[in-house]
């Protein structure tokens, strides 16, 4: 089974030149409110993108568009060569290739940790229960909580729950992972264990889009940092350039607010 995990990583590195996510001229409105304005973003396979910006800037909406949790009104989103349309079959097809981790973990409280991890492989991928459980245990070991497999989510700490959520997404063996503020709902002392897990995932070569204000994480693993404000991409830069030499006035203001 380690071979399979390895495959995800190495595959991403060898095909590094290929495009994983391509957003072209994407616009989205919530009623009258223009949340996403002309978004152009290209993410290569194996690339790690950190998206930051003030609250209400549309960063969560942007990554939620990528797996079809939000629809968009104009533009094009292509995932791994598949165009994301409003067709529910196509959306489900795309979702199978994308794992997502939420701010509030969103584990299924009525299922054990192991059942949380095997549910989608069994019902969506049609995997045998035994095989799904083996894979789930592999990933639970990877996020360092195999001993909690038979507990319920409510019995775990926030940090452990979030690591389970990462393992649950990985069990579908996705090509892309989306993180929507994965550490914002955690107690301060639990942030590190989740970030460590994410760093490890990055080292394995996963394509990652992370909405986060964890600047240490951005410096450590991001290939590019995307700064958003008022529904627009304001600045895209390498982490060093972004933190040390921001170009746009809005970026400078934002960084001065969060880095003290």
């Amino acid at each position: 089974m380690t071979g399979r995990i390895h495959q995800v990583g190495s595959g991403a590195i060898t095909d590094g030149a290929d495009v994983a996510v391509e957003m072209t001229g994407v616009h989205k409105w919530f009623g009258e409110f223009h949340v996403l304005k002309d978004i152009d973003l290209q993410v290569m396979r194996g690339e790690r993108i950190v998206i930051c910006g003030p609250s209400g800037s549309g960063k969560s909406t942007l990554i939620r568009c990528i797996n079809g949790l939000e629809d968009y009104q104009r533009g094009r989103i292509v995932i791994e060569g598949m165009e994301l349309t409003q067709d529910i079959k196509r959306i489900d097809q795309v979702r199978r290739e994308i794992g997502m981790v939420f701010q509030q973990f969103n584990l299924f409280p009525h299922l054990t940790i192991l059942e949380n991890c095997t549910l989608a492989p069994i019902w969506v991928r049609g995997m045998a229960k035994r095989e799904a459980e083996e894979i789930a245990m592999q990933f639970l070991t990877k996020v360092r909580i195999p001993e909690q497999a038979n507990k319920y989510p409510g019995q775990l700490s926030g940090g452990q729950q979030q690591r389970v959520a990462i393992a649950r997404a990985l069990c579908m063996q996705p090509k892309i992972m989306l993180f929507d503020e994965p550490t914002s709902a955690l107690d301060p002392e639990m942030v590190k264990e989740v970030l460590d897990t994410m760093v490890q995932l990055a080292m394995d070569g996963m394509t990652m889009l992370v909405v986060s204000h964890e600047m240490s994480f951005a410096r450590q693993v991001a290939n590019r940092v995307v700064f958003m404000d008022e529904g627009q991409v304001v600045e895209v830069n390498s982490p060093e350039a972004f933190f040390n030499n921001p170009q746009h006035e809005r970026t400078k203001l934002f960084l001065s607010q969060i880095l003290r």
Partner: protein, 404 residues
């Protein structure tokens, strides 16, 4: 610094202030020994004080309640037990006479009419089929309700699929299996009440779930239909639904198509109960956080998979006490079928008490008391089960930390 006098007369000096002269703070040198609580807090006296006589208002209410009981209970016991007639073969046994100086309940009447009250006019030779139905129903219900029963998945399948089919074949008959057909006009009594309630219960849950999902659907047509159906049924009394089912329907469809009278009432009751069930289930669906739907969708689960595996198990679990509450209401509502000429349990008692063979001043009262007792036992059992389940689910959700 405080000086305390304990109940046993000892005096203690307590200080937690820093003493100005020495600059020392309070440090405890020995721990206080745990003492038994005062007698006014424990035992019978303690219980009485906290529960019955804790305040002037509470004391007054206690006294008034005791007086009410003293006023009401002795005559009831006297009528139902002391002066009651337990056996006899006709009205003479229950009439006031030298042997029987005061009027009491005429239980002899209930004993004599018991088989009619249970089976209605079901043919005598075929009544074993009803007994088998009762036994199978009791078995299936126990399998469904007993939370630690083996193979509860089969139990659910048995209750919602096997039981209805077997019951239908048993009760209405299948000549090819050697069971002569029994026309539903002969059905009556407890059997009909239970059939009507069971059909309502078995049909209303799945249909209610579908309607509740439909009401929250994104598809306008499905949503419109569900809302219209639920609101229409909720806006109309059950009696009206039954009248429409039994009187109006035959006007619109050719006689050959017109279904049996009992079936019409069953459909009416089942649809009526479904609309209410839909609202109960909807409350449960709304209690599930949006994140659960999104997590299911993000994993690639389709609409029905997400509903079946993620949403409904959680929603129904928190709704079970309310579902059982609807079932209790439904069980009592079944008495209304007598309006369209179906001989349910209450109706057979009505007919029996008017029987000249047993007409005495105490017969009606006995009949109604008996009916009340039977309904009470059924409803009380359901209500006890609901509260047990609630307690157990409460414990389970604490274990699972469902509050997250």
């Amino acid at each position: 610094m405080r000086v305390l006098r304990w109940w046993n007369g000892e005096i203690a000096v307590v200080t937690t202030q820093i003493e100005p002269q020495t600059g020392r703070a309070y440090v405890r040198r020995e721990s206080v020994v745990a003492l038994p609580p005062p007698v006014t807090m424990v035992g019978v006296i303690g219980w009485l004080r906290t529960n019955l006589f804790s305040s002037a208002l509470n004391t007054t209410l206690t006294v008034v309640t005791v007086l009410c009981f003293a006023w009401v209970i002795p005559p009831i016991v006297k009528f139902l037990i002391v002066d009651a007639v337990w056996s006899g073969s006709g009205r003479e046994s229950c009439l006031v006479s030298e042997l029987n100086p005061r009027m009491g309940a005429c239980w002899a009447f209930v004993r004599d009419r018991l088989s009619y009250v249970i089976y209605g006019s079901y043919p005598l030779t075929q009544r074993w089929r009803v007994d088998v139905f009762f036994a199978f129903l009791a078995f299936s219900t126990a399998w469904l309700l007993w939370l630690d029963a083996p193979r509860r998945d089969f139990g659910v399948f048995n209750f919602f699929i096997v039981l209805p089919v077997v019951s239908f074949v048993l009760l209405s008959g299948a000549p090819m299996f050697g069971l002569p057909s029994v026309d539903t006009t002969l059905w009556g009594g407890m059997m009909v009440t239970i059939v009507v309630a069971a059909v309502g219960i078995v049909v209303s849950l799945p249909l209610g779930v579908l309607l509740a999902l439909g009401r929250r659907s994104n598809m306008p047509a499905v949503k419109f239909f569900s809302v219209m159906f639920i609101e229409f049924v909720r806006g109309v009394p059950l009696i009206t639904v039954l009248f429409m089912a039994s009187v109006m329907l035959p006007l619109f469809v050719p006689p050959a198509w017109s279904p049996d009278k009992l079936v019409r009432a069953l459909v009416g009751i089942a649809l009526f109960a479904s609309a209410y069930m839909a609202e109960v289930v909807r409350a449960g669906l709304q209690a599930i956080p949006r994140g659960q739907y999104e997590a299911a969708a993000a994993l690639g689960l389709g609409y029905w998979q997400a509903r079946r595996l993620i949403v409904l198990p959680q929603a129904l679990r928190i709704t079970i006490p309310n579902i059982l509450n609807s079932y209790i209401a439904l069980f009592k509502d079944t008495t209304l079928v007598f309006i369209v000429g179906i001989f349910d349990f209450l109706r057979t008692i009505e007919i029996s008490r008017a029987d000249p063979k047993w007409a005495t001043p105490g017969t009606s009262m006995t009949g109604y008391v008996f009916a009340a007792l039977v309904y009470f036992v059924f409803c009380y059992l359901m209500s006890r089960y609901a509260s047990q389940l609630e307690r157990r689910l409460g414990a389970a959700s604490r274990l699972q930390g469902a509050g997250q």
